[in-house]
C-alpha cells in the first residue's frame, strides 16, 4: 500500500482555523436574512418616496407616529387579533377532534382519515376563499341566491365578506397542518405513564387531568401558537374575503400600502406598519420557540409500539363519522366541486337543469388561448423548480454544518436560518423589494422585475422549514456511518456523495416536493414583487383575473392547479413524509 505524503496543504488544517466552506455558508445565510431585515428597519425610518430615493439624509421618525397613532391601525390590530384567535380556535379544535378520533377511538376507516385530511393541503387558500365567495357572497353567492329566490328570505343568509367568513375559511385551511402535528403528539404519549397512574390508585378522570393533559399541554400549546403564526402571516384569505369589504388585517394593509404606492408612494409608512406586524409575529414565534425547547423536557416518546386503550365510540360512531365527512366536504370536496362547476358553465350562475345542459370546456380553451397563461405557467415552473432545488441543497448544507461540524458559529447559523419563520411573507416581500431596488440601482442589474426576485424571497422564507426537517433527518444518520467511510479512505466529498446523499434521498425528495407545494400557492410576496409579465406566477395571475371578474377562467385554472397539487400531496404521502409536513407552514 502506498502511503500518501503528508505535506499536502489540506492536511495542515487546524481546527481553530475555520473551514472556508462553513464560513461561506454562514455568510450566504447571514446576507439572505440580515440584509433584508436591516433594509426594512432603515426604510421604516426614511421619508424617501421610493426605495431608490433612500439616503441617510432622509432618515426621520415621522413614519412611526403617523402609522402607529393612526386610528386605522388600532382597527387593524383589533381585526387581526379577532381573526387570528378565531381562525386558530376553529382550526385547532377541528384538528384536535379529528386527531383524537383516529388516535384514541374505535372510529372505522382510520386509514382514509389519515390519508384524507392532509389532502386539504392541496387546496390553496386563494382558491378555498374564492370558492366560498362563489358560494356565500351576499348578493350573488349560490347559498344566498337560494335563500332569497327559493326560500323567500329578505336579505343574504350568510355573508362571507366578514371577519366571521375569514375565520371560517382560514380555520378550515389550518386543519391539515394542525392535524399532522397533533397526531404524533397523541401517538408519542407512552401509555405506561398513564398505567403507572392507574396502578398508583389514580381514577380515570383524575389520571386524564393530572397526567395525560399535563403531559400533552406544552405540545398542544405549541401547536396552537404555531397555527396562530400561520394565520397571522397568511395573505390570501384576508385578501380575497376582507379587502373587498374594507376589513383589513396586517397582511392586507401592508399590501395595500405597497400597491397604492404607485400613485402615492409611502414606502416608509408601509415599512413602519410592517415593523409592527413583524413585531407581533416575532413575539409569537419567540413564545413558540420557548415552548418547543421546554417541551423537549416533557418528552413522552418511547420506541415501544404499545397502543393506548381505545375509547369505544358505541352509538357515537355515526356522529363521529359525520364530523369527519363534514370536514372533508367543507375543506376539500365542496371547494373543488364549486370551482369545477364554475369552470364548466358559460356564465356564472347558480346550478339548475338548464345550466347543466349547456356545460362546456369553453373556459379551459379560453385559458389555453389566453396569452398570459403560457408565460405565467413557464414562470411558475421556473420559479418553483428553482426555489425547491435551492432550498433543498442550501438546507442540506446548512444542516450539515449545524449538526455535524465543529464550526464555532453553528448555533448562530441554526438560529439565523430559523428566523425567517417569524417573518410574514408580505413583510419579506416588502423588505426584499427595498433590497432589490437598491441593489439594481447600485449595480445596474435587473433582479427586480425578474422571476429571480421571487425565487430569492421564497428561498429565504422556506429555509426555516427546510433546515428544521433536514436537521432531524441528519440526526437520524448515525455518526459512525460517516466516520466508517472516512476510515475506509473516502475524502469528505466522497462521503457526502456515497453515504449521506443516498441515505437522505427520501428526505431530500420530500423537502423538494413540499417546497414546490408551498411555493406554488402563495400570492403575498409575489404580488408585492409583481413587476410586469416576467414576474407573473400562477397565484398572481389568479389574483388579478379574479379582480377583473374573470371568475370562470380562475375556476378553470384553479381546477387544473388543484389536480396537480393533489398528485403532489399523494406523492409526498408515498414518500412517508407526513411527519415533516407537520413542521411546515
Amino acid at each position: 500500500m502506498v502511503t500518501r505524503t503528508f505535506d499536502l496543504p489540506i492536511i495542515n488544517i487546524d481546527r481553530r482555523t475555520l473551514n472556508p466552506w462553513h464560513v461561506l455558508i454562514f455568510f450566504v445565510v447571514a446576507v439572505l436574512v440580515a440584509v433584508p431585515l436591516t433594509v426594512l428597519i432603515l426604510g421604516s425610518f426614511s421619508n424617501a418616496k421610493m426605495p431608490t430615493d433612500f439616503s441617510l439624509a432622509t432618515l426621520t421618525f415621522d413614519n412611526y407616529p403617523e402609522v402607529w397613532l393612526d386610528p386605522g391601525t388600532f382597527n387593524i390590530l383589533y381585526n387581526t387579533v379577532v381573526y387570528v384567535v378565531g381562525a386558530t380556535c376553529v382550526g385547532v379544535s377541528f384538528a384536535a377532534i379529528l386527531a383524537w378520533l383516529v388516535e384514541r377511538t374505535t372510529i372505522p376507516g382510520k386509514i382514509w382519515i389519515y390519508a384524507g385530511v392532509p389532502l386539504a393541503l392541496a387546496v390553496p387558500g386563494l382558491l378555498q376563499a374564492m370558492a366560498w365567495v362563489i358560494l356565500a357572497s351576499p348578493r350573488s353567492g349560490f347559498i344566498n341566491k337560494f335563500g332569497t329566490d327559493v326560500l323567500g328570505f329578505d336579505g343574504p343568509i350568510i355573508n362571507i365578506y366578514t371577519l366571521g367568513g375569514m375565520i371560517f375559511v382560514e380555520g378550515l385551511r389550518l386543519v391539515p397542518t394542525a392535524f399532522l402535528m397533533l397526531v404524533p403528539l397523541l401517538r408519542s404519549m407512552d401509555p405506561a405513564l398513564e398505567e403507572a397512574a392507574y396502578t398508583s390508585g389514580g381514577r380515570p378522570l383524575s389520571t386524564a387531568r393530572k397526567i395525560t393533559l399535563m403531559l400533552m399541554a406544552p405540545g398542544f400549546v405549541a401547536v396552537t401558537i404555531y397555527q396562530a403564526i400561520i394565520a397571522l402571516e397568511v395573505f390570501e384569505v384576508p385578501g380575497v374575503l376582507g379587502m373587498p369589504a374594507d376589513i383589513h388585517v396586517f397582511s392586507t394593509r401592508v399590501y395595500m400600502l405597497v400597491a397604492e404606492a404607485e400613485f402615492l408612494p409611502t414606502y416608509g409608512q408601509a415599512n413602519a406598519l410592517a415593523m409592527l406586524y413583524l413585531g407581533v409575529a416575532v413575539v409569537a414565534s419567540y413564545f413558540y420557540w420557548r415552548l418547543i425547547r421546554r417541551s423537549e423536557r416533557f418528552t413522552v416518546v418511547t420506541g415501544k409500539g404499545y397502543r393506548p386503550k381505545l375509547n369505544e365510540l358505541g352509538n357515537w360512531h355515526y356522529p363521529a363519522i359525520g364530523f369527519v365527512l363534514l370536514f372533508m366536504f367543507l375543506a376539500i370536496i365542496l371547494p373543488f366541486l364549486v370551482l369545477l362547476y364554475t369552470s364548466l358553465v358559460k356564465v356564472l350562475q347558480p346550478p339548475s337543469a338548464e345550466v347543466f345542459a349547456t356545460m362546456s370546456f369553453k373556459w379551459y380553451s379560453w385559458v389555453f388561448d389566453y396569452g398570459r397563461f403560457g408565460s405565467t405557467l413557464s414562470n411558475t415552473f421556473k420559479m418553483v423548480f428553482a426555489t425547491a432545488s435551492i432550498v433543498t441543497v442550501l438546507s442540506f448544507l446548512i444542516s450539515l454544518v449545524v449538526v455535524r461540524s465543529k464550526f464555532v458559529a453553528r448555533r448562530a447559523l441554526d438560529q439565523m436560518s430559523f428566523m425567517p419563520h417569524a417573518i410574514p411573507g408580505v413583510v419579506m416581500g416588502l423588505a426584499f423589494l427595498w433590497v432589490f431596488l437598491q441593489y439594481d440601482k447600485v449595480t445596474g442589474s435587473e433582479i427586480f422585475g425578474s422571476i429571480w426576485s421571487i425565487v430569492v424571497v421564497f428561498v429565504v422564507a422556506f429555509i426555516a422549514y427546510g433546515t428544521r426537517t433536514m436537521n432531524a433527518a441528519i440526526l437520524q444518520i448515525h455518526k459512525d456511518l460517516e466516520e466508517a467511510s472516512s476510515v475506509s479512505g473516502a475524502p469528505p466529498w466522497r462521503t457526502l456523495w456515497r453515504i449521506f446523499v443516498p441515505l437522505m434521498m427520501p428526505s431530500l425528495v420530500g423537502i423538494w416536493v413540499y417546497v414546490v407545494l408551498l411555493s406554488v400557492r402563495l400570492a403575498g410576496a409575489p404580488l408585492i414583487l409583481y413587476e410586469g409579465r416576467r414576474t407573473e406566477v400562477l397565484a398572481v395571475l389568479l389574483w388579478y383575473l379574479w379582480d377583473d371578474g374573470e371568475w370562470e377562467a380562475v375556476a378553470a385554472m384553479g381546477v387544473m392547479m388543484m389536480l396537480g397539487l393533489f398528485a403532489l400531496v399523494l406523492l409526498l404521502r408515498g414518500l412517508g413524509f407526513g411527519k415533516s409536513m407537520a413542521q411546515a407552514r
Partner: protein
C-alpha cells in the same frame, strides 16, 4: 520497531459545562503485529485516544505516528485526515451502510483507493475478506438483513479488506449477547493473530482485555495507570486503581513495621502480616496490602502448625454465597471485611469462627 507511536497526547473538549481534559499526556509504543488493548471504565479517555489515532478527533497536543510516518503533530501542525491514514476500523455500532449490500460495503474501501483496481481483482479481494470472516455466500444480501453477529463480521471484513497497517476496534463485542460475544472473542483474536496485523482494541471488559491482548494499557481519567502484559496487570497491579478495576481485590490499609529476610512486616487492621516488599517504600510508610479473594484458603488444623510462609488470620464468617463454581464468603476480621473465594465443596456457615491462611508471596504491598 514501533508500528504506532503516541507521544504526550492531549485532548481537551469544550462542553457546555466548560473544558474537559479527556486525555492527559498519554504515551504508547505499539510494536508491529502486537494486539494492544486500551482498558478502562467509561469516560477514561480510551475511545478518545483511539479516535485520535484514527484521525476522527483532532488532539490538542502531542504527536502520533503510524509506521514511522507522522500522522499528527501539534508542533509541526500536521494532521493527516482519517481517509489518508492506513487504517481499518470497526465501530461499536458496526456502522454498516444500510443502503448498500454486503458486497458493496466491503468493496467501499477498495473503491476509494487511489488508482483503479480491475473488476476481477476487486471481486477477488472482497470475497477473500468475506471468507476470512466466514461470510461466504452473503455478498448479495442487503446489509440490514444481517444478524448482529453477521454485521460484526461484515464490519471486520470491511476494515480488513484493503489490508491496512493498523486495525482499530472500538468495543466491537459490546453489542452482542453473552454467548455470541464469547465466540466472537475467540474468533477475532485468532483471526487477528493469524493475519499478524497490528491491532488496537478498546474495551471496558477486563475479560476481553486479559484473554485477547499482548499488552494491556489500563486508563483512568485520561491517564495511563499501567501498561503491561495481561499476566502482570493481574498479578502485579501497579496501583490501587488497577488492582480494583481488574478482578476483585481486598484492600487492607497498614504501615510497614520492619523489613526481614526479603519480606516486610505490615501492621494492618487484621493484624501483622508478612508481605512481598514493595518498590519505593520502607519501614514507617503507610501502604495498602492487596489480597485476591482466590488466594485465601482455610488454614489447616485450625491454624495450628500451619506451614511457614503463610499469614494466618482469625475471623468470623459473615456471609456465604454459593455461586456454583465457587463459594464466595465474607469474613469479618477485627473491623475489616475480607472477601474470599473457596472451593464449592467447602462446608462453612455464617457465624462460624474460622482461621484463614494467605501465602506470603500473594500479599502485595502498594505504596500510597
Amino acid at each position: 520497531m514501533a508500528m504506532i507511536k503516541i507521544e504526550n497526547l492531549n485532548m481537551h473538549y469544550q462542553t457546555d459545562e466548560g473544558s474537559v481534559h479527556a486525555v492527559r499526556g498519554v504515551n504508547f509504543n505499539i510494536a508491529e503485529g502486537e494486539f494492544f488493548t486500551l482498558l478502562g471504565p467509561s469516560g477514561c479517555g480510551k475511545t478518545t485516544t483511539l479516535r485520535a489515532l484514527a484521525g476522527l478527533e483532532r488532539p490538542t497536543g502531542g504527536t502520533i505516528s503510524i509506521d514511522g510516518k507522522t500522522m499528527f503533530s501539534e508542533d509541526r501542525r500536521i494532521n493527516v485526515p482519517a481517509h489518508r491514514r492506513d487504517i481499518g476500523m470497526v465501530f461499536q455500532s458496526y456502522a454498516i451502510w444500510p443502503h448498500m449490500d454486503v458486497f458493496e460495503n466491503v468493496a467501499f474501501p477498495l473503491r476509494e483507493m487511489r488508482g483503479r483496481m480491475s473488476k476481477s481483482a476487486l471481486r477477488e479481494k472482497v470475497l477473500g475478506a468475506l471468507s476470512l470472516v466466514q461470510l461466504d455466500g452473503y455478498e448479495d444480501r442487503p446489509a440490514p438483513f444481517l444478524s448482529g453477529g453477521q454485521q460484526q463480521r461484515l464490519a471486520l471484513a470491511r476494515a480488513l479488506v484493503k489490508e491496512p497497517k493498523v486495525l482499530l476496534l472500538d468495543e466491537p463485542l459490546s453489542n452482542l449477547d453473552a454467548k455470541l460475544r464469547e465466540e466472537m472473542r475467540d474468533e477475532l483474536s485468532d483471526l487477528v493473530k493469524r493475519l499478524g496485523i497490528t491491532t488496537v482494541y478498546v474495551t471496558h471488559d477486563q475479560l476481553e482485555a486479559l484473554t485477547m491482548s499482548d499488552v494491556v494499557a489500563v486508563m483512568s481519567e485520561g491517564e495511563v495507570m499501567q501498561e503491561s502484559t495481561p499476566f502482570d496487570i493481574y498479578e502485579a497491579p501497579a496501583n490501587r486503581f488497577v488492582a480494583g478495576f481488574i478482578g476483585t481485590t481486598n484492600f487492607l490499609d497498614g504501615r510497614i513495621e520492619a523489613a526481614v529476610n526479603g519480606h516486610v512486616t505490615v501492621s494492618t487492621s487484621c493484624g501483622a502480616m508478612t508481605c512481598v516488599p514493595p518498590d519505593g517504600a520502607g519501614p514507617g510508610d503507610t501502604v495498602t496490602v492487596i489480597v485476591r479473594p482466590e488466594d485465601v484458603h482455610l488454614a489447616a488444623n485450625g491454624g495450628n502448625g500451619s506451614e511457614s510462609g503463610e499469614n494466618i488470620l482469625s475471623g468470623e464468617v459473615a456471609e456465604v454465597m454459593f455461586l456454583g463454581e465457587a463459594l464466595e464468603c465474607q469474613v469479618v476480621i477485627g473491623d475489616t471485611r475480607m472477601r474470599l473465594k473457596l472451593h464449592p465443596s467447602t462446608r462453612i456457615a455464617a457465624g462460624e469462627k474460622i482461621d484463614l491462611a494467605i501465602p506470603v508471596d500473594r500479599c502485595l504491598v502498594l505504596p500510597e
